[in-house]
Amino acid sequence: MTEMIKLFVNGEEVEVESGKNLIDALEKVGIEIPHFCYHPALGADGNCRMCLVGIEDGRPPVVPACKTLAKEGMKVLLDADNIKKIQHDVMELEFINHPTDCPICDQAGECKLQDYYMKYEGTESRMWVPQVTKRKMQDFGGGVIHDQERCVACGRCVRFLRQITRTGELGLVNRGDDCRVEFFPGRPINNRYGLNVVDLCPVGALTSADFRFKQRAWFLKRAESICHGCSKGCNIMVDHNKEKYEDDIIYRLRPRQNEQVNGWFMCDEGRMTYKLENDNRLEECTLAGAVRPLADIFADAERRIERATKVLFLVSPSASLEQLAAVQALAEKTGATVSAFSDGYIVKDDGDDFLIKDDKAANRAGVDLLGIAKSRTHFDNMAKEADVFINFGNDLSRSLSEEQIGRLFSDTWVLNGATHPGQLGAVMEKKVGSSIALRSWSEYHGVVVNCDGIAQKFVGGVMKNVERPDIVEMAAGLGSPATGTAAAWALVQKKIPALAEFGGFLELPAEGVKLTDNEAGK
């Protein structure tokens, strides 16, 4: 446990964690100190001067909170008249050369300038002389668009690219009110984490070319989720909205803080995976090439499973623990074999030492914890023997070519549960007995285990117009004893004792549960 210390804010005693600066320490107990340039992941710079606070009996009496360590007995003044005046004056100075184009700015609604104006300034502009004009809509590369006039020169983007990615594409150039963020000529942002500067920017100076002008921030619904782009399991926020008469659409993914996993950041590729959730989705369920109700497909498949000599289930290594357990239960009941063959999900040498991993599966550790086989030989042997093959959302086209898939299942009756077309290869999909359009990860709840053995929950907030089953429902339709996520979660708990104490997936702590190797082995 961290040591706690007592200090005074405006004369009232508060208990805070030691070893933190005043901004972080007081934020934890719900006291806000306004700031632009300080960010916990980037450290204190001290240039915005917005976090100046008074220290009673202190020398000097006014200090930047970002550079001041919380100390036992410290008397911090936030509501003193001189501090309020400083906040007001600094805000006024931030504003004099700001274009105040909130109606056309994507940051509006989540902008610190707006928030602080309402809270700390709130007076009429006194800028009775012409403003400084700078460049607008500058392409910074990497999908980042810069508006120099909106910039408050806090340097967060510059520090991120120097300290975190160590690529250093951006710098603060020029002096005085001509100071601006620029990239070196001919060397725009070029790294796999560049879009994080958009989140870091406290104002609307850096916006995402992908997101800008698509949606106002206040219309977006937010769902706390886990990125399914690779096995790192970065914590993300899914920002989506369903406009009238339209489908529920995801507009962007943003990183969500989790010190254990991704800190404050995520990669650009992961950020763009929302497009797969929106576009080119399978919509219909078919039986022998004709669109049919789900119940008919389930009844037909159930009959075929009963009559078959050998049945093979293929699960996705990105499926949630609940989904895997539900399919496992169905296999145990029907005597089918389960494989999680997914060699193609691993992209050799694609990962780095920060967030991106070679393994593009979100729950491979979960597959191992539940004891599901995933080797190529096992899959090949079983596929050759099987006369019924059911795919539960595995993108087999990543691992095998169309011909290989065709050869393996030439005499097999196939039920393809998939989110997107082409997951069994275009040729095979024309020949399948049935197909079921599945929900994708942004549309269901569950738990996945990341590459470091941390079990993390995620919430599916997106409600598509087309009703689709998720894999738990598909398995239940085919006769699995796990008739719903709650029943499936009970099965998971039996296999992974470390999760036994959590009544439901929602009870998992926000930072996740570290499943050590020992517990996994039990």
Binding site: G46, L52, D89, W128, L172, R175, G176, C179
Partner: protein, 431 residues
């Protein structure tokens, strides 16, 4: 009759005094034997006792600054000599650099030995090209003669001196911005603490001294602290190179002891206000020091305490004399323009505020401003000052505040009446 005290400027008038042979003939490097036979702590004591205060503008006691170095660190200690003389109205260090560079080098040897440093950096203003060439030649000569280098003065003590040229930024004269610049970064002041004496150049303990402070050392070591104290007054000992410029008959650099009456110096040394005109004001120590009216100047003496009493600063001793023809609003524009241009752009108040002040002052001078503009710019002086990492913002707001307060009628004379529609607008808003 007032007379110059030639301590620093002793060799200024000698031909080729920047050559080693000439300098040596006139007493250069004679302190080295005495220096190396003293203990390092004793040298610091002598400098402390001499009462020498930093000549860069802040006037911080030099010996005390040295004693802030942490003891028992295994990191190297650096000496940085501030030769980035950029304050408008200040032109004293350039004389030492050009006329007597060996005095500076000798001073560096003393300072390095006292603080146990082996590497000194001279950060020289980029525009000082002639001075740099002369200084570099002098360093080369001294090196060849074995005065600096591996074995300083045949002692087992290494001192290397490196010249680092600035690229034309006033802010690099601020000690931490100077360090950033030497490190190859953008010249921006650092937040303190940590102070440079603890964590300075390349995160090592560093002492930063002005050229004139360093150049004062040989005389102090040679003649002792008590001899030095005989010049000047108790709170400000020794002599100072005063650069007198502006509307005087004989502008130039004069070496004088501290404590002399300001007007006497202007009248007796610099020949008084030129062309028999009347005095309008005096900027006592470089452009960042608040202006003194003739009445204030009459009671001021040239030392730190008197200047503080008159709510201005001794600064760098760059005295700018303003005659009755000077337009104070235009002076305000000129000064603000300079500080706005030189603001490093780091802290919000200075970055945004100085440009704003410049525009408002220009509007006043152009005759387009009203009373609310004048009140605003006066208020801005208070709003900007004291909220930033360094004192550049204050270096602008302090003299402008003084000009606005002491010569307000001159500004008001330029105003046009408040437009009536603005008045009705304002009253409509209030309702």
């Amino acid at each position: 009759m007032m007379q110059e005290a030639k301590i620093l400027s002793a060799k200024f008038a000698i031909k080729n005094s920047n050559k080693l042979t000439v300098a040596k003939k006139h007493g250069a490097y004679q302190t080295l034997d005495k220096l190396f036979s003293s203990k390092q702590g004793d040298v610091i004591e002598i400098v402390k006792n001499s009462g020498l205060r930093g000549r860069g503008g802040a006037g911080f006691p030099t010996g005390m600054k040295w004693s802030f170095l942490p003891k028992g660190l295994d990191k190297p200690v650096y000496l940085a000599v501030n030769a980035d003389e950029s304050e408008p109205g200040t032109f004293k260090d350039r004389y030492i650099l050009a006329q007597d560079p060996h005095l500076l080098i000798e001073g560096i040897i003393i300072a390095c030995y006292a603080i146990n440093s082996h590497d000194a950096y001279i950060y020289i203003r980029g525009e000082y090209t002639t001075q740099r060439t002369i200084l570099q030649n002098a360093i080369d000569e001294a090196c060849k003669a074995g005065l600096i280098g591996e074995k300083v003065g045949k002692q087992n003590y290494r001192i290397n001196i490196t010249i680092h040229r600035g690229a034309g930024a006033y802010i690099c004269g601020e000690e931490t911005a100077l360090l950033e610049s030497i490190e190859g970064k953008k010249g921006q002041p650092r937040s303190k603490p940590p102070f440079p004496a603890v964590e300075g150049l390349y995160a090592c303990p560093t002492i930063i001294n002005n050229v004139q402070s360093i150049a004062s050392l040989p005389w102090i070591i040679q003649n002792g602290a008590m001899a030095y104290k005989r010049y000047g007054i108790e709170s400000a000992t020794g002599t100072h190179l005063f650069g007198i410029s502006g509307h005087v008959e004989k502008p130039g650099v004069y070496e004088l002891p501290f404590g002399l009456p300001l007007l006497d110096v202007i009248n007796e040394m610099a020949g008084g206000v030129w062309k028999g005109r009347k005095l309008k004001g005096v900027i006592p120590g470089g452009s960042s020091c608040p202006v003194l009216t003739p009445e204030e100047a009459a009671t001021a003496t040239l030392d730190y305490a008197s200047m503080a009493e008159h709510k201005t600063m001794f600064g760098s001793g760059g005295i700018v004399v303003l005659d009755e023809t000077v337009s104070m609003p235009e002076l305000a524009v000129n000064l603000t323009q300079f500080y706005h241009h030189e603001s490093c752009g780091q802290c919000t108040p200075c970055r945004e505020g100085l440009g704003w002040m410049e525009k408002i002052l220009k509007k006043i001078v152009a005759g387009e401003a009203t009373m609310r503009d004048l009140n605003l710019v006066r208020e801005l002086c208070d709003n900007i000052e004291g909220k930033t990492v360094c004192v550049l913002a204050a270096a602008c707001t302090m003299p402008i505040r003084a000009l606005l307060d002491k010569y307000r009628d001159e500004f008001e004379a330029l105003l046009k009446p408040e437009p009536t529609d603005a008045v009705t607008e304002a009253s409509a808003e209030q309702e």
